[in-house]
């Protein structure tokens, strides 16, 4: 499979895509030097700042969620590579200018965690009031693995902590809200076809023509559930049952369900999958209270999707419904 991508010099992918983002959404975001995306109009003084960091090639994640009611800043790494600690430090310093507290949201991938921790320690040494929440919603499918990956579960954390910060919650409160959301979120990823790495032109992983794999990571890291292709209903059932069991959801509880497209899987399919999930929940008498279906974090043109569930309560529902105005997540 030859790479058929509309790009220029692969070395300039990240600055070019960020420049495109800033030109397309001038009233929502702006670029700081060195690939940091910030809100066009900073939040009012005294409110907690949300900062995140992560590699590129997953658009609209993560920088597409910088904006009112969500993130204040996103530190952007190279394609599939964590940004280094010095730039994370720079973003934290800028975000913390007015002495507001900073909540650093880090997706659980080694590189991101290391850069985030190093930057956070340096920030603390400079007297910056900072706390961190690590999102680790991603089940690999292997119950023996305790350390989970950060998949699309960052989205409810950004949204809910972002809304709380916008409404004036303290750093401790924002951190608790984010932690609580994180602990109540589970995601499973499935892939059916690989993508090409836009820098190298190489396939990211291999998968047989009649196979799919459940439990993959955001970059095609292997899962444990390689199996023959299944229908939408069958796939949704397998995945939802694993998610519900792992989170320990019982009848009567309230859930947010999110279906995230990996890149090439169509919205038609995502909607059909979401329908399967909603019907299974109905049969189990679990309440579907909120939902989201679309592409929030992709892996180039990989085919597959992530199914995410999150246990909700009146507070998190209220924050989920609060207004937001980022490039790729708007709530009216």
């Amino acid at each position: 499979m030859r790479m058929k991508k509309f790009i220029n010099d692969p070395k300039h992918l990240v600055p070019e895509l960020l420049e495109g983002l800033a030109l397309a959404f001038p009233n929502k975001i702006r670029l700081l030097g060195s690939n940091i995306v910030a809100r066009a109009v900073p939040k009012a003084a005294g409110k907690v700042r949300l900062v995140t960091l992560g590699g590129s090639g997953h658009e609209p994640g993560l920088s597409g969620f910088v904006g009112e009611g969500m993130l204040d800043m996103s530190v952007v790494g190279e394609i599939f590579a964590a940004p280094g600690a010095p730039r994370c430090m720079e973003a934290i310093r800028t975000a913390a200018k007015g002495d507001e507290g900073v909540l650093l949201v880090v997706l659980n991938h080694s590189g991101d965690v290391l850069s985030g921790n190093i930057a956070m320690e340096a920030a603390k040494r400079e007297g910056i009031n900072i706390q961190r929440v690590l999102t680790q919603d991603g089940m690999s499918g292997d119950p023996a693995v305790k350390d989970r990956r950060g998949l699309v579960g960052f989205l409810p954390v950004y949204k809910i902590a972002g809304a709380a910060a916008e409404q004036g919650a303290s750093l401790d409160e924002c951190c608790q809200i984010a932690e609580r959301m994180e602990q109540n979120t589970r995601t499973l990823a499935v892939a059916v076809r690989t993508a090409t790495h836009p820098s190298t032109g190489q396939a990211i992983f291999e998968l047989g023509e009649d196979e799919m794999e459940i439990g993959m990571g955001q970059h095609g890291e292997a899962g444990t559930g390689r199996m023959k292709l299944k229908t939408a209903d069958e796939t949704a059932e397998i995945m939802l049952n694993m998610l519900l069991a792992d989170l320990g959801v019982t009848a009567g509880e309230e859930l947010l369900v999110l279906v995230n497209g990996a890149g090439a899987t169509t919205l038609m399919e995502l909607l059909i999958l979401f329908r399967s999930a909603a019907r299974i929940l109905e049969a189990k008498k679990i309440k579907l209270v909120r939902s989201a279906v679309g592409e929030f974090i992709t892996t180039q043109e990989q085919a597959g999707f992530q199914m995410m569930i999150a246990r909700m309560d009146p507070e998190s529902i209220r924050l989920w419904d609060a207004p937001a105005d980022s490039p790729y997540f708007v709530v009216r």
């Binding site: 790494g77 190279e78 964590a82 280094g84 991938h109 991101d112 023996a144 990956r149 890291e221």
Partner: protein
């Protein structure tokens, strides 16, 4: 002649280490693609470049400052786990060398021990977990042992280089528990860890830089 290394020696060590990485970068990426995401060679090329530049012209004469800048520069590579940890290693050495224009073998040992301690604060990985720690821990241990028994700096790096190499080789039969590879479990057995292989190359370069200096 006192047995110590100054900026000139450090520059040669870094240059030779960079050379080793440049020679082997495709192999490093290959190792990373077995269980990781195949970018380790590319990341290490950038690490090598920055390491070399950190001891070049217009960099601090004070080894402490030089090492701190080198470490933060390496951390600045958008490369994921390895650049963050190796940057932490060099930055961690800095405090032990602040104010010094040269370090004798004992000081070198203290600096490398401090570097390792800084790394250990960032990762729970231990030797045996199939990571760069399998090369780094024995290499630093070898320097400390050499310093304690009154060896020269060059001799210390000679033993460190072979300890790192042995450590890296030993990862071949291990099962990964950290980094991207951790989700693969048993599938990771059979080929050495990419980060450990890099550390072995770095120490081999450090030694070559000193050996060349002594002979030249």
């Amino acid at each position: 002649m006192t047995d110590a290394i100054g900026k000139i020696e450090l520059a040669k060590m870094f240059a030779h280490a960079a050379e080793e990485i440049r020679r082997e970068h495709s192999y490093l990426s290959e190792l990373d693609s077995v269980a990781g995401d195949g970018d380790h060679g590319t990341t290490m090329l950038r690490v090598a470049e920055r390491l070399e530049a950190a001891a070049g012209a217009n960099t601090p004469e004070d080894l402490g400052h030089l090492l701190r800048d080198a470490g933060w520069s390496v951390m600045g590579v958008d490369g994921g786990a390895s650049s963050a940890l190796l940057g932490t290693f060099f930055a961690g050495m800095a405090d032990a060398a602040i104010g010094d224009a040269s370090m004798d073998c004992a000081q070198v040992a203290r600096a490398f021990e401090a570097g390792l301690a800084a790394v250990s604060k960032q990762t729970k990985a231990q030797p045996g977990d199939k990571t760069m720690m399998d090369a780094l821990v024995p290499a630093v241990g070898a320097i400390s042992a050499a310093a304690a028994s009154g060896k020269t700096v060059a001799e210390a790096f000679e033993t460190a280089a072979s300890a790192a190499r042995a450590g890296a080789d030993s990862t071949k039969d291990m099962v990964a528990r950290y980094g991207r590879a951790k989700f693969l479990g048993e599938k990771t057995r059979g080929s050495p860890d990419a980060g450990a292989a890099s550390v072995a190359l770095l120490f081999q370069g450090f030694y070559a830089g000193l050996a060349f200096e002594r002979k030249g």
